[in-house]
Symmetry: D2
Subunit: 341 residues, 4 copies
Amino acid sequence: MLYFANDYAEGAHEKILQKLSDTNRESMPGYGNDRYCASAGEKIREACQCADADVYFLAGGTQTNQVVIDAMLQKHEGVVAAHTGHISVHEAGAIEYTGHKVLELPHREGKLAGAQIERYLETFYGDVNHEHMVFPGMVYITHPTEYGTLYTKRELQDISAVCSKYRVPLYLDGARLLYGLAGEGTDVTLPDIARYCDVFYIGGTKAGALCGEAVVFTKKNRPPHFMTLVKQHGALLAKGRLMGIQFDTLFTDGLYMEIGSHAVRMAGMLRRAFIQRGYDFYLETPSNQIFIVLENERMRKLQEKVVFDFWEKYDAEHTVVRFATSWATQEEAVEQLIALL
Amino acid sequence: MLYFANDYAEGAHEKILQKLSDTNRESMPGYGNDRYCASAGEKIREACQCADADVYFLAGGTQTNQVVIDAMLQKHEGVVAAHTGHISVHEAGAIEYTGHKVLELPHREGKLAGAQIERYLETFYGDVNHEHMVFPGMVYITHPTEYGTLYTKRELQDISAVCSKYRVPLYLDGARLLYGLAGEGTDVTLPDIARYCDVFYIGGTKAGALCGEAVVFTKKNRPPHFMTLVKQHGALLAKGRLMGIQFDTLFTDGLYMEIGSHAVRMAGMLRRAFIQRGYDFYLETPSNQIFIVLENERMRKLQEKVVFDFWEKYDAEHTVVRFATSWATQEEAVEQLIALL
Amino acid sequence: MLYFANDYAEGAHEKILQKLSDTNRESMPGYGNDRYCASAGEKIREACQCADADVYFLAGGTQTNQVVIDAMLQKHEGVVAAHTGHISVHEAGAIEYTGHKVLELPHREGKLAGAQIERYLETFYGDVNHEHMVFPGMVYITHPTEYGTLYTKRELQDISAVCSKYRVPLYLDGARLLYGLAGEGTDVTLPDIARYCDVFYIGGTKAGALCGEAVVFTKKNRPPHFMTLVKQHGALLAKGRLMGIQFDTLFTDGLYMEIGSHAVRMAGMLRRAFIQRGYDFYLETPSNQIFIVLENERMRKLQEKVVFDFWEKYDAEHTVVRFATSWATQEEAVEQLIALL
Amino acid sequence: MLYFANDYAEGAHEKILQKLSDTNRESMPGYGNDRYCASAGEKIREACQCADADVYFLAGGTQTNQVVIDAMLQKHEGVVAAHTGHISVHEAGAIEYTGHKVLELPHREGKLAGAQIERYLETFYGDVNHEHMVFPGMVYITHPTEYGTLYTKRELQDISAVCSKYRVPLYLDGARLLYGLAGEGTDVTLPDIARYCDVFYIGGTKAGALCGEAVVFTKKNRPPHFMTLVKQHGALLAKGRLMGIQFDTLFTDGLYMEIGSHAVRMAGMLRRAFIQRGYDFYLETPSNQIFIVLENERMRKLQEKVVFDFWEKYDAEHTVVRFATSWATQEEAVEQLIALL
């Protein structure tokens, strides 16, 4: 079987496994106080060109969203997100579980826009008393979005400017950030992300790590007592080294970007083949995910040889499916898939 | 430096690393639906002699306590625990964070007793209305306890009988279970644990895994929609295989018990040396942790060559310190430490 | 000044004050265990033609929504509501505060429709796994809605049938129920409400009481330990008699319906005057609230003599305003207001 | 039957009822924005000799504790309280429901002591890292305590000094404050309470009101967005006037203190009779509650003519019972009770 279902189906990039093995017998303090967490943090600060950044490591994406959003919101506040945002739909209510409302706005290909956010925020600063409403205390975006689409630098700038104006922090969920940074035609760099966002995370799980996400507070704005809040959420791993070693490896010699580029190149090969053969795209995506509208019969046939992801029903006879590439996708597998199309 | 501070200072048992490497390129479904989670569950059911058990994997101990306790309690209930229980003191209020009170009872060397629990529970079933009080909906114990002490089979039986009588589930936190099962003079086996407890977890993090704890529901009593609750807590890892592979290895060819026996043997060597040299024990422990009352000056001197753990102040001139052994403790290191005593 | 801003601007119907005075020196047990709570419950059961109903009294509407929804939902569930529902917008996130998501659906004049709810619910029972999503565990509607509109008997029936089919309880927020039951042209009676809903509340605060809402569980479905949950929410008043006496009065000799009819009659007089004078209605309402689109200049002028409610901006030159009547609205005041139009 | 079970068994002081009646037809804005809330606040500021105080009204005691503690604590903090504190035992876990741990300390006749609190707080500021523990973010005391005992001015001063030193706010639960202020031999005044506490509440429910508690923030320390937090807790009543009018009356012409003095005088009569007849006191109390150890047979006999409160079992043959007086206790009733002793 060919496997294109997602970008977290295999273990870890071999360099990560090697490093885990090389450091295995080193005795270190727990809870992220080890030398590898420190070193990974330092390398991430450099890659972000953000000397002040505070970097923390958590185990998974939903956990990271839950901990960061809860830690940064005041008790009366909620978080603004696209109606299709991961926190809005696919985290089993993890944000609401912490007592905060997700304030959902309409999306455009998974994205929010600065002007739209401004219209929403400004109503809370007008004449009318909104004491009975949830106050928007953060804006949440994903890059790439849940639909694999990307913000342009200008779009990020706009959103960032609105957030600054209203002093509402901007949080970017970067579960698949590497595939955005390596996206075809993108003008957004990691330092841009660090500049425009108040906090974001660099996903590891979907970037070739066994687990782990790196949270980056960019504006000397780490919530006080953050480690205690992490512990309170049950999110503090005793062997913090597991994340430190993995991210230290990802940010050594450009491995993180290399993985992103590889996956996007593999997706590009595949995309061009879909185009050539006249397949219907559900929407255009420059990153590592491709969304295709397939006839159901065609889909069932392809499923005999390829594992891909059901996305949603399109109509009675068609289905939207997703093909994803990753660090683990081999060029021969892409060629074999193309031969089946 | 000699490292005896705790049992989670190194990476993973080499067999685990090897297995992670061997399986690395296998493509598998996420979220615990892979073949290794299934196989690990099967092996754990066998080791527990509990064919009905439902086994789930979570990443860390506090997370496991939080998710399991919250999932099993009704909304009006709290969990009974020793005043010194891990959930009472050292989890940053992770249980209260989920809305449930920890109902703290006095302890004896870290342990609760059946009769004591019965006195507490029975008040809620008498004439007096307790509608304004938190109802005890679970009993939580640790084995070994936070003080390294062990329950006897009879003590577990007593507690279990009381819990059954009042239909309050008994939950055992087995973060260090292997060191209890391998404890000197213990009569408690893993099948005993499975028989007496309604739910418990087998710790991986402190047993030679990089991370991971195996939750075992023994009485066909897994809470409905458990995976959604895990997701809601931000505790569902995409690469569930990471835990599956590790526990599959720990429960192959008796590795789990082998690690426990090794650590307890190392602790035994050390304990006998402390006794011979006339050190004061804070309390007697048959497992992998040793608690010694040291003169402060002596402590400082020893700290130059050995890393051990501050436990608590004893008096102005003395301190209680902890020495712990693990899968990674080498016999030569124990001999070198003994030479320093 | 003429006061038409809302239906809770004055104290209590004089019969209620009288009864509070008459019973003042009677010594009674607290927390709702008094004879007046019992009697009020009995009268409400009769009025609902629902002999099995369990009746409880809480102090306010948001509190009632919070306690009832939290008590009836399982931990992994959320509550379906219109995007404009009171719990969606105007309760400061009181539902999310309890850890549950409000699953917002589009509305039509403040209402949901059975077919729409069915489309939403059925997706959770198909082939696709929704373990990562919040499960819909209740449907919430308001009658009259936040826009003063009313469900027909047929519409309620449809929604009720869908809820039964999927075993999802239907909850009706009756903060202004009396104005719905007395609404012009309605075919919905209180026994209908009790038949179609699994739980609902009869509002007191906006019906001439000082405070208080009566929760009615109609299907022997009161959540276990409900009083403890009420206490846990801080919602249990020591002098439960305050609510018992008020509702006992409201449900004696038809006072509750009499108040509703009076207010609707007053609103009808006003509505006809608005029509005659050619005012623009924001939407048609048969109950005690009237929504008018006013030119801003006209609005400011009217505000010099009348207190009414700002609803929302319509466009740069127009505003939607609300006029409400109540038990306390006197016919002369309506005539005076009409004279100003 | 004679009624001495508690101090909330009757309706309201007649002056309060009268004022509710006199103001009944006045149209006012809701949610506490009415003139009576403003006036009551002003009178309370005067009575407290605290011109800066912010005064808010809530409906009940548990609700007040829940809202105030949750609003003032940071997310990683808990509240220190006596093991016997009302929030520790008798509020169904209402504090934990908001995610915060009650950090229980041993008590002495229901009281905490400054030195004891200091020993607890200082451990969080020493060398040892307490990141895994709940940080004490508030100290909670009751006056009178749950045992009817009173703090002296010196004791309050000590606690206040410790709290100031560690910048931990001191919160006093004054559900029965009037009976403490009027207590026999007390040297504590309302201005003392305002001076020593950072926030406290003046109970209305047990002081002759139908419901209502007045929260007083004394140090310009009202939590930001407090009204939204109140709403989020479901604790904001539409007819805030109900509390405003009642507290305005209680703080007009010294009614509040008059009620306290009356009840304490009635309790004094009763206490002296118990002493004369040689009854065993469970503990000495200078306020409106008396705790007596009764032989069970004697208790049952007395119950035929008097309603009093079961407190707790003393031993197999004895029971601790409570007699309470209030604004509604009539001298003749006390005499009749005395005649039965």
